[in-house]
């Protein structure tokens, strides 16, 4: 939790971008797309957990049941 989460997602994004470029340059468009998709899904899993914690916290603070 905290700023390291932002850096984690940024690192995944940069890594995926670099891998994407490399795979496209070597002529493997399908694998490049798969890499993009995998990165997106990994980040989405992290983000969904965070959104769930956010909504639970908001619910707890504002007595929303």
């Amino acid at each position: 939790m905290g700023v390291d989460l932002i850096f984690k997602i940024a690192a995944i994004g940069i890594l995926v971008a670099v891998l994407n470029q490399l795979l496209i340059r070597s002529g493997r468009e399908e694998q490049a797309m798969m890499t993009t998709l995998a990165g997106l899904i990994v980040v989405l899993l992290i983000v969904v957990q965070q959104i769930a914690t956010l909504f639970e916290t908001v619910k707890a603070i504002f007595h929303l049941d």
């Binding site: 939790m1 905290g2 700023v3 989460l5 932002i6 850096f7 997602i9 940024a10 995944i12 994004g13 940069i14 995926v16 971008a17 994407n20 993009t36 990165g39 997106l40 980040v43 989405l44 992290i46 983000v47 965070q50 959104i51 914690t53 956010l54 909504f55 916290t57 908001v58 619910k59 707890a60 603070i61 504002f62 007595h63 929303l64």
Partner: protein, 128 residues
């Protein structure tokens, strides 16, 4: 100084998003979501203390607890709707953002029905 920390997180996240937006716009949106969540989590404990204070004031002023709870609920719904709407608007989906905000407004009106009813009752009682 927590405000410095929050400002630093915001600026760093903005720079990271600027770097990433040209390559992967979909991950940039997710970073902005996570930044919003992280900043809220940092102030959540203090926000909860502020709300406890307000609750104790409301109890001391003998306001009916149902009114105060309703106001808190309305604030929470407004925050969630605003958060989701801003995320959609940042990603360029203005129409979805306005629909989320419409849903939030409708929910707020439904929650406010007891308050409006008691206000109307009061008005009717005052006017003979």
């Amino acid at each position: 100084m927590q405000i410095v920390q929050i400002a630093a997180i915001g600026i760093i996240a903005t720079i990271v998003i600027m770097v990433l937006k040209s390559q992967k716009p979909e991950l940039a949106v997710q970073i902005s979501i996570v930044t919003g969540v992280v900043i809220f989590m940092l102030i959540a404990a203090k926000l909860s203390a502020v709300i406890d204070l307000l609750e104790s004031f409301a109890a001391r002023a003998e306001i009916k607890p149902v009114f105060f709870t309703t106001i808190l609920k309305i604030t929470g719904i407004a925050y969630i709707a605003e958060f989701a709407g801003e995320v959609c608007r940042d990603a360029g989906e203005n129409s979805i953002a306005s629909k989320i905000e419409l849903a939030g407004k409708v929910t707020i009106v439904i929650l406010a029905v007891p308050i409006i009813t008691s206000l109307l009752d009061l008005v009717i009682r005052i006017m003979p």
